[in-house]
Assembly symmetry: C2
Homo-oligomer: 255 residues x 2
DNA sequence: GGAACGCATTGATTTACATCAAACCATCCG
DNA sequence: CGGATGGTTTGATGTAAATCAATGCGTTCC
């Protein structure tokens, strides 16, 4: 599945800019790098039909590109990098509701406004579609609709797991669950198995906002896990999982 | 929309039983009471095609009818009553991930096993479909697929709100948000506006498991809200909202 | 009637995590 | 180089909510 034809848009490049001093973009040149993305669903032959609707956009680390509550004009397919999705309270408290990696769709909401914000964690490439053309697109490509339903169902399952984590798990259980999830995500087909080595693209602050904890608690918990021989905390964003079983026991709540 | 043709299955009744001493069921007689359900999507003319697939089931209060992790054989459409959906940890901690009211679909998961449990809060009626026939159903009724995607998107938005609540809100904010949600849910088109009177079908324990709190904290918080003149706590499951603005301020975190 | 049960309320105490605070350590940059 | 900056770690203290515990109050059922 990983050697499927890369999907080339044949139109002439056009540049657009996001935000002040923002990212430059061209028409999507390789809109699908993994079997889960748009192009693999609708097939390379259909691409010319999309070329005036889809634009590839490169978003630098830290830049937001969906604002919670803003009119929902576009619809995105992540093609590389990691995106954080979040909701915020008026006083600044934040909850990251998920991290979107290549293949994920953003902006499905039926509402006319985005229900969440989105920001690039590292350098991100997305394919951007106009939501106006969404209905036509779905009518023309039934497979896309099936794919979106599948994606939404998967996200719903992930959301339910996260609600269990946020509502009922302790700090240690949360961090253990997170690390295991990240490990599983990095072991998807097409990725070489990395022997427990993880490169988390997000900061401690992001992890804290994802797990409903503070930066300090995340840091302390990782230190404790290190002291227990469960993990190794490397420079920068590297973490190595030394004992999956120990983390499993923790994550399941069999303290 | 509320006076649409009721959708009659014309087949002869058949009885089935759920669990020991369980509920009796017939073929679905009125599978749609609200514009969101299956029958309103596919239309009364198509019903005969479904009559061998859909079975109406009546589930008594407290009875579980989906077990987390069990093979996902069926797919449900709630037609009356309230269902609680939950996930549990091995040691018994529970998180209710949502309450499903008439019109909601259950068991969409792409996985072969249910990702959550489901239990009737009060007396519940559901339309039950075999998941084997789901794919055919979707192929035959594109509108149903569009409807399911819409439903899944809405649930995703609700799930994100709940993650913000569970991860970042205080107990008071959680209870205030819950009461407002319940009020909005009871004010859907087709319902008479009830002047702040709510009849919550679920126990304090259910509310606690939904909000990631304990029974005691929910009870204390309601008592505190009563002392602040925000609500009136009636006998049984009745709660009257006396000041929506006060609850709004609380729920938004403008403490 | 009155035991037994489930559910709710209220009080006393404990605790896991947040908050406040300080130091550490890269990288960047004039 | 040396000082800012942004992220991380570690320590001391505070607190919101959990836990432990007792009481109340309808229902059900001998």
């Amino acid at each position: 599945m990983s050697d499927m034809p890369s999907c080339q848009f044949e139109s002439r490049p056009r540049r657009i800019v996001i935000g002040a001093g923002g990212a430059q973009t061209d028409f999507c040149t390789t809109c699908s790098v993994r079997p889960t993305s748009v192009c693999s669903v609708i097939g390379p032959d259909d691409i010319s039909r999309l070329s005036d609707a889809a634009v590839e956009t490169i978003i630098p680390p830290g830049r937001g590109f969906i604002e919670e509550g803003a009119p929902a004009t576009d619809f995105f397919n992540v093609t590389s990098g990691t995106v954080k999705l979040f909701k915020a309270l008026p006083d600044g408290r934040r909850q990251i509701t998920g991290f979107a990696s290549p293949g994920h769709f953003l902006g499905l909401a039926v509402s006319d406004n985005y229900a969440f914000g989105a920001e690039a964690v590292d350098t991100v490439r997305v394919c951007r579609f106009s939501r106006d053309k969404m209905a036509d697109l779905l009518d023309d490509f039934p497979k896309l609709e099936r794919r979106l339903l599948e994606e939404a169902s998967n996200e719903l399952v992930a959301a339910q797991n996260q609600m269990l984590l946020l509502g009922r798990k302790t700090a240690r259980e949360r961090v253990a669950s997170f690390l295991l999830d990240q490990m599983h995500a990095s072991q998807l087909p097409g990725q070489e198995s990395s022997g427990g080595r993880l490169h988390l693209p997000m900061t401690r602050g992001d992890i804290a906002d994802y797990l409903g904890l503070t930066i300090e608690t995340v840091s302390r918990t990782l230190s404790w896990m290190r002291s227990q021989g469960m993990i190794e905390v490397g420079k920068g964003y590297a973490i190595t999982i030394l004992s999956v079983p120990k983390l499993d026991v923790l994550a399941a709540g069999n303290t």
